[in-house]
Each structure stands twice: as structure tokens, then as C-alpha cells.
């Protein structure tokens, strides 16, 4: 097979990624990755703090992600390159930060893909109800088939994502309107299930602890930026697709909480792997039960699909800039996809799908996500300082700066504390890993990197340099 290896940021007449995507694909990529969070994961926040805590973090973490979307839209509409936040870090902070951000992305998306595959396998096994049937074959089939789909082309991948994400989303809307949300007592019984005595069973410390899994309502929306080199009009499509995706998710999260908290006790809601499917069952309607079962599978597929897409592009970008061996920067001559990166990450995802359980895989993903959001809050401050408004052309300028950055940073600190309350040792282990691999990069690997070639934007010299 003939392959072409791209030189760092020099696209020229070499094989490069195809610009074939529009705003709908950007929406499908972002919402497709995230929507699975409504089907599983968010409800573990009820376990950590009670049903009301899950609602409070739904809103507050929604604020965190609105800040992420606003900041990301401005920077990405200006730095439109594959790798998303990686390319931003490279141009604004420096190579070592870019290397770390790419690893955050790869870890967050690969572990999210693992979570999706576990969910899909467990859901099928639970539905089948056959003794001795395990989820392993379903997990392996999901990861391999989706990797193949990604290998074959980005347009087909995201067209598939658009359709299955839309079906999964519509199922939440159908469930919501099927249970007469304007009437309490007939189907929904919120007043009897969330009472003053059990709304916050652990008090406010439980609300803070719930932030850990509250992140899961929206984790991955920032993945829209990974498509920057493949959208026809990045300055328009990326902010539009990202903000539309965020609005879509805020509505879905609110509907999901309301229906689930009105149908099951918080103790059960906090441990089930399938809150929406269970909600469908508890309505007593076989149609809704089957619809939500299918939607859970579709949401998991859409998310895993988008995650493979994003993780591979971040890994590809590292190879293209020689931060990792340039072997990874090969683009398939026929399908124009970063196929070596896709294939390299495949066994890693498979391995963790078999050794981690669902909430451990989710936590791995959340840890890398929060590290990345911490970077984003500082990154936007540096971006505005180095290139103040008016010095370069921005596709979108987010309002109220620096308020979103400050809100984002503060909420990241709270989330780190929440992670400490359950997974502190894991957070320390992962941070030590990032620190050690940073030493490896800074003192060894960076010697293979061409210095000036990393800065590819047609901008003036940053202020202060």
C-alpha cells in the first residue's frame, strides 16, 4: 500500500485531509460524542450527591461548558487546524503545552470510546437476558467496526453520526412529551421521589462531589474543533456548530434529569447504567422501552464513532509536527484519513475496554477533560494578551471576556476537588504521568521538532516577544 507522510504543517500539494464538512457535521460530531452522557454517566452524580445535586451540577456544569464553547469558538475560528486545542496551544502557549493538550485529547476521547463500547455491550447483554452471555464480543465488534468506518472516510463517518445522533436525540424528546411533563402524579412523581428529606442526602459536600460526573452531561462538545481542517468554512461552521450543539445538549440534559428524577428513586438512579432505558421501562410502554433501548445503543455508537475520529486527529497532529514519530502523520492515499493513527489507537481502546469498568473509564476521561479545560481558561487570557482585539482577524469574538475564562477556571478547581473526593489517587497518578512524559518531551523528544515551522498562522509577532 502506498502512503504519504506529511511534513510538519506543510500541506502544499501533498495528500491532506479533505474539506468536505458543513455546520451539520460539526453539530453531529459534538453532540454525537456527548449525547451518550444523557443515556449513562450523568446519573452517577445522583449517586454522589442525590437527585437535586444532579440537577444543580447540570446547570453549573452547563455554565462551565458554555464558557468552554464560547472560548473555543473564538480561538478555533481563528486557529483552524486539525488537532483543535492542540493547534491552539501550539500557537499561543508553546510546544510542550501543545504536546500535553494532545495527550489530554487522546486520553479523554479514547477512554470515552471505551466507556461507550462497555455501555453498548452491557446494554445488549441486559436486554438479551441470556445466562453466560458476556459483553466482550460486543465491545470488540463495536470498536473494530467503528475504527474501520473511520478508516474509510470522514464524510461517511460523520453522515452516519448525524443520522444516529438525531434519532437518539429525538427519542429523548419523544420520551419527554410521552410522560405528560406538564402534569405531576399521572406518570411523573417528582414530588414524591425528590423530597426535602432526600434531595441532598450528603448536604453540600455531596453537591461538590457530584461535579465529577456532572461533567459527563457535556464532556466532549469541544471535540468539534478537531474537524477544523475538514470543514469548508471553519470561521462560520465551527462557532455555529459548537454553540448549536451546546444549546441542544442543555435542553437534552434538563429533559433527561426531569424525566428520570420523576420516575425512579435517587438511590437507583445513581447506580443504573441505563437511566433513560429504565425510564422507558418505568412508563409501562413497550414502545418507549424499545425506543430508548435502541437510542441507548445509537448514542453509544455515535459517541464512540466521534471519539475515534477526534482521538486519531489529535494523534495524527502530534506525528505531523514530529512531537511523536512522523510515521503517525500518514494520510491514506485513497480515503484521505489519518489511518495509521486510527489503527494505532485501536488496540489501546480494546485493551482498556476489557480491564476497566464503566465508571473507571468515565473517570479517566473526565480527568483528562478537566485538565484540558484548565488549560483553556488560561489559554484564552494569553491569546487576548498576545494578540489583542483588532490585531488579527477573528472568525468570532466571544463576549464578556474575561468572565467566561474566570468562571471556567473556578469551576475546574471545584471539579478537581470533586475528583479528589472519589478518585484522588488516580488524579495524582495521571498528573505524575503527564509530568514525566513532559520531561521526556522537553529534554529528549523536542530535539526532533522543527522550531519555526510550528507556527503556521499568518499572524504578526505576538506582543511581549
Amino acid at each position: 500500500m502506498t502512503t504519504t507522510v506529511l511534513e510538519p504543517a506543510i500541506h502544499g500539494d501533498r495528500v491532506s485531509l479533505l474539506r468536505v464538512l458543513g455546520p451539520a457535521h460539526v453539530w453531529a460530531l459534538g453532540v454525537g460524542i456527548v449525547l451518550v452522557g444523557e443515556f449513562t454517566g450523568w446519573n452517577f452524580s445522583a449517586d454522589k450527591g442525590g437527585a437535586l445535586a444532579a440537577l444543580i451540577v447540570c446547570w453549573i456544569v452547563g455554565l462551565l461548558y458554555t464558557s468552554v464553547a464560547m472560548i473555543d469558538s473564538e480561538v478555533t475560528s481563528t486557529v483552524a487546524a486539525a488537532g483543535g486545542q492542540y493547534a491552539q496551544a501550539k500557537h499561543i502557549v508553546g510546544p510542550l503545552m501543545a504536546f500535553n493538550v494532545a495527550l489530554f485529547l487522546v486520553f479523554a476521547y479514547t477512554m470515552l470510546e471505551v466507556s461507550d463500547a462497555i455501555l453498548l455491550g452491557d446494554t445488549i447483554v441486559a436486554k438479551a437476558g441470556v445466562e453466560g452471555l458476556t459483553h466482550n464480543s460486543f465491545i470488540a465488534a463495536t470498536i473494530v467496526v467503528l475504527a474501520w468506518l473511520n478508516y474509510r472516510g470522514v464524510l461517511m463517518t460523520l453522515n452516519v453520526n448525524f443520522v444516529i445522533t438525531a434519532i437518539a436525540y429525538i427519542s429523548i424528546v419523544i420520551l419527554f412529551f410521552s410522560v405528560s411533563p406538564w402534569t405531576q402524579g399521572a406518570v411523573l412523581k417528582l414530588n414524591e421521589l425528590v423530597t426535602p428529606g432526600n434531595a441532598l442526602p450528603y448536604g453540600w459536600i455531596g453537591v461538590i462531589a457530584a461535579f465529577q460526573f456532572g461533567i459527563w452531561y457535556y464532556l466532549g462538545i469541544e471535540g468539534t474543533t478537531q474537524a477544523a481542517e475538514e470543514v469548508r468554512s471553519p470561521a462560520r461552521s465551527l462557532p455555529y456548530g459548537t454553540m448549536a450543539g451546546m444549546i441542544t445538549l442543555l435542553i437534552a440534559a434538563a429533559m433527561t434529569w426531569y424525566v428520570c428524577a420523576s420516575l425512579m428513586p435517587w438511590e437507583y438512579l445513581g447506580i443504573t447504567y441505563y437511566p433513560l432505558w429504565d425510564a422507558g421501562k418505568l412508563t409501562g410502554s413497550p414502545l418507549l422501552e424499545n425506543l430508548l433501548f435502541i437510542a441507548t445503543l445509537l448514542a453509544a455508537l455515535a459517541s464512540a464513532n466521534g471519539c475515534i475520529n477526534d482521538a486519531a486527529r489529535a494523534w495524527f497532529s502530534l506525528g505531523r509536527d514530529r512531537y511523536l514519530p512522523s510515521w503517525f502523520s500518514a494520510v491514506h492515499p485513497k480515503y484521505r484519513t489519518p489511518y495509521r493513527s486510527i489503527l494505532f489507537l485501536l488496540p489501546i481502546a480494546l485493551a482498556f475496554a476489557f480491564i476497566a469498568d464503566l465508571n473507571q473509564a468515565i473517570t479517566f476521561s473526565i480527568l483528562s477533560g478537566v485538565l484540558q479545560y484548565t488549560f483553556m481558561s488560561i489559554n484564552i487570557m494569553m491569546f487576548r494578551k498576545k494578540w489583542p482585539l483588532g490585531t488579527i482577524r477573528r472568525g468570532y469574538t466571544h463576549p464578556f471576556h474575561p468572565l467566561p475564562a474566570i468562571v471556567l477556571f473556578c469551576l475546574c478547581v471545584v471539579t478537581f476537588f470533586a475528583i479528589f473526593l472519589g478518585f484522588g489517587s488516580q488524579l495524582i497518578a495521571m498528573t505524575i504521568f503527564y509530568f514525566l512524559i513532559s520531561l521526556w518531551f522537553h529534554f529528549y523528544r523536542y530535539k526532533f521538532v522543527r522550531r519555526g515551522d510550528q507556527f503556521t498562522m499568518p499572524w504578526p509577532k505576538p506582543q511581549g516577544y
Partner: protein, 125 residues
């Protein structure tokens, strides 16, 4: 400023670097699982009387538990399995120090590398 020309990396060197990264990924993610460090501390606050009332469930909640296939006996371990949030200050301080140290190193080392990039990029013009 003179333009930096990186050394060419041999194929064996590339393979070695890939192995280093893969091993590091597995150690970072797999070791906490293997050592049992992952996962929050929950424990069951056992009750003698296993009734819906003793478990704090009103008739609506009890009816839903039963619809889900639970009895007071089987629901007991689910309902009474609780978090016990205790702030372990030494661990919290270590975690904060590791995080702050990591980010400080990251930004300072990145800035040194970034200055080389900017100097080479803009001094060439």
C-alpha cells in the same frame, strides 16, 4: 537567529519512542486499577430491619423498587451503600501541590520553547 535543523530519527528510534509512549500510557491508566486505587470509598450502613419504611422509602418509591424487581432485602445493599466523605488533608495538599507544580512546569518550559519558535519564525522574515 540561525535556523535549527533537527536530526533525522532512525526507524529503530521511532519504534523505541512509540514503545515508550505506549508503556507510559498503560502504566498511568492501568496501574491505579491494578493497585485498587481507583474508585470512591462506599460502604454499606447495614440495618437490622429490612423494610421499606426502615430504608426511608415512601409508598411511591417502594412501588417503583418493586416494579424494578427489588424487595426490601435486595434493595437494602443498594440503598444503604453510601459515600462517607472525609477530607484527607495530607492527600489533598499533595494533590494540589502535584497539580500546581505540573502546570507551573508546563507553562514555564513551554514559554522557553515558544520563544525559540517565535524567534526563528519572525527573525527569518
Amino acid at each position: 537567529m540561525s535556523r535549527y535543523t533537527p536530526p533525522e530519527q532512525s526507524k529503530a528510534g521511532q519504534v523505541f519512542d512509540i514503545v515508550v509512549v505506549v508503556v507510559a500510557i498503560f502504566v498511568a491508566l492501568w496501574l491505579p486499577l491494578k493497585l485498587g486505587l481507583a474508585g470512591a470509598a462506599k460502604s454499606i450502613d447495614a440495618l437490622d430491619a429490612k423494610t421499606w419504611e426502615a430504608l426511608g422509602q415512601n409508598p411511591t418509591m417502594a412501588a417503583i423498587w418493586e416494579k424494578l424487581g427489588y424487595t426490601p432485602e435486595t434493595a437494602h445493599d443498594v440503598i444503604q451503600n453510601r459515600f462517607h466523605y472525609v477530607i484527607d488533608w495530607p492527600t489533598l495538599i499533595i494533590m494540589a501541590a502535584v497539580l500546581i507544580g505540573y502546570f507551573v512546569f508546563l507553562f514555564r518550559a513551554s514559554d522557553r520553547e515558544y520563544r525559540d519558535v517565535i524567534n526563528e519564525k519572525f527573525d527569518d522574515k
